[in-house]
């Protein structure tokens, strides 16, 4: 099929379009001349940026007033689709709001979903999405076989955001209809964790710790090293599940995807779930006492040793230089 009309589930934070949104728009405009950004919120601060990255039209719902995005946005989308603007493809980011909205919409439209993808193509097989499995060692290409709209979500950093010379998009206000019983959930308060230094998914250097640190108190070694390198501290799922650090530190399939210049994995064996989130790093340094650890299979520099000995010496050496 030929894609003539693509929607991108677009998000902003603090009046700026998220990088993930701009990545999806960049890909969308390579597949279709008609690209619509659907914003669940107020788009006035960043509509121009959406246009520069390829959106020709912006649907914006305005503030959701505590409604959870999944049910509110899927209901609003369904109204537009039933009204005649039915896209061939809707691209979602693989995150909380994107996933919830796509799932609700799939039931409303009776359409399948393809999640966790890294690429999309318009080919003789139809609309084909590519997803990595088994830690990214195998790529599976899946074609949508039924009618559109095709619902497909993408992992962060699947595409590189590039601005084009797109003009100001047409902005269309969208009302969120009455949600009834399904809209029974409300956000009553929001809590943001205090962070200093660069964001985990944007830092040039990421230092992550895992179970090999032995106990929660030793995570300070990771924080000290990250600070000295002006990087961000990260974590494996194991120590997040164990409660040593908050979920926002997690790198992997169910956490953040990072692609820094250097990724330092300390006391992390390299479970598939972790490797998916960091194997795109330009360089990888691993420290682990088990020389059979899978992480050494993808590390550019592997140190078979005790993190409790290597990290303090490394920190001392770096301090001595500064």
């Amino acid at each position: 099929m030929t894609i003539n009309n693509i929607w991108v589930f677009a998000q902003g934070a603090n009046g700026v379009a998220t990088t993930g949104t701009l990545e999806l728009l960049t890909k969308a405009r390579s597949l279709s001349s008609k690209v619509t950004a659907f914003v669940g919120g107020d788009a006035s601060g960043f509509a121009a940026s959406l246009g520069e990255h390829g959106a020709t039209k912006v649907y914006a719902t305005g503030d959701l007033a505590g409604k959870l995005p999944g049910v509110a946005l899927s209901t609003a989308m369904k109204v537009i689709i039933d009204g005649g603007d039915s896209p061939d493809v809707i691209m979602f980011p693989q995150n909380y709001e994107g996933r919830d909205t796509m799932a609700r919409l799939s039931v409303k439209l009776n359409r399948t979903v393809l999640t966790n993808n890294i690429d999309l193509a318009d080919s003789t097989d139809g609309v084909v999405a590519t997803t990595p499995v088994f830690g990214g060692n195998i790529l599976v290409a899946t074609a949508f076989s039924g009618p559109g709209p095709h619902l497909v979500s993408f992992r962060p950093k699947s595409f590189v955001a590039e601005s084009a010379s797109g003009g100001a998009p047409e902005i269309v206000a969208v009302a969120v209809p009455e949600l009834g019983t399904q809209g029974g959930a409300r956000v009553v308060a929001t809590h943001a964790e205090q962070t200093t230094g660069p964001k985990l998914d944007e830092a040039a250097i990421v230092v992550s710790g895992g179970r090999g640190l032995g106990e929660a108190a030793n995570y300070s070694l990771i924080e000290d090293l990250a600070k000295l390198l002006k990087g961000a501290p990260g974590a494996s799922r194991a120590i997040v599940d164990a409660g040593w650090v908050p979920y926002s530190y997690q790198v992997g399939q169910t956490g953040k995807v990072v692609k820094p210049s250097v990724y330092i994995a300390a006391g992390i064996s390299g479970a598939t779930q972790h490797m998916v989130g960091m194997k795109g790093s330009k360089s990888i340094i691993a420290i682990n006492k088990d020389k059979e650890a899978p992480i050494f299979g993808i590390a550019d520099l592997g140190i078979v040793g005790d993190v409790h000995k290597v990290l303090p010496k490394l920190i001392e050496a770096l301090k001595a230089r500064s």
């Binding site: 959870l68 919830d100 979903v113 899946t142 520099l301 140190i303």
Partner: protein
């Protein structure tokens, strides 16, 4: 307080996964175990029912080959009964069909005050089923719950967000998905394991639930190609002789990062 927990029985994650050569689907042969990420939901349900002072926890699952060993684990933890939907016609079902089957299973059990799922399975991780179940049942939902309590008829959830967490209040009945680590799942006791063997566990087909299986042919998706990704090569691996930190310093210097 009656709670239904949706669980998935998956191949042991410790053994390497493989794709079937003809269908390209994930192989799910042999013994299946309770997905570890569902043990949190079972534990959460048991605790909420205990706090409410009455009611029961029931387990539903869908599996192609009548496999119940993972569900028995949940019954051994303390769940009252189980309903398994097992039908060869369901092999190859997409997440939407799975959600329709699980929603019909909830209805077959007479509904519940709360339906709990994991956030995503450890083997397929599509991650849309919880929200799809809620939509099929016409219920509100709160995904990625990391703390849950019930006050009267109001569900209070701390929901994970990109930057921290949101406090969410929700009417019941509702569907929630719970994150790993939300509670510490109990180990089944010996008595629990023995009792679980006698607990009711019904096995039904898709037609018993009046759900039309889509199967391979009509799942709305078709795998067209499977390729090997470009592999990342291993670099230098050295044993720490007490001076290996110097190698890291040199590596970072070489990249002009320090």
């Amino acid at each position: 307080m009656n709670i239904i927990v949706c669980v998935k029985q998956i191949p042991d994650p410790a053994s390497p996964g493989a794709l079937d050569a003809s269908t390209h689907a994930l192989k799910r042969e042999g013994k299946l175990i309770l997905d570890e990420s569902d043990a949190y939901g079972v534990e959460m349900a048991l605790q909420l029912v205990a706090t409410a002072g009455g009611g029961e926890v029931n387990i539903i699952s869908m599996a192609p080959n009548g496999e119940t060993s993972g569900m028995r684990t949940a019954l051994a933890m303390g769940a009252a009964k189980g309903l398994l939907v097992s039908d060869p016609a369901l092999a190859g079902s997409d997440a939407l069909t799975t959600a329709k089957v699980l929603a019909a299973s909830v209805t077959k059990l007479g509904g519940a005050d709360l339906i709990i799922t994991g956030t995503e399975s450890s083997d397929g991780y599509t991650g849309t089923v919880p929200e799809q179940i809620a939509e099929v049942l016409g219920l509100p939902s709160v995904t990625f719950a990391k703390k849950v309590k019930i006050e009267g008829s109001v569900l209070k959830v701390d929901r994970q967000s990109e930057s921290g967490y949101d406090e969410v209040e929700c009417t019941l009945p509702a569907v929630i998905s719970v994150t790993a680590g939300v509670v510490e799942p109990r180990y089944p006791s010996f008595k629990g394991i023995m009792d679980a063997k006698k607990k009711p566990l019904d096995v039904v087909t898709a037609s018993d639930l009046a759900v039309t299986p889509t199967g391979w042919a009509a799942a709305g998706q078709k795998i067209v190609n499977v390729t090997q990704a470009e592999a990342r090569k291993a670099g230098e691996v050295i044993e720490d002789d007490g001076e290996a930190f110097g190698k890291i310093v040199a590596f970072l210097e070489n990249l002009k990062l320090i």
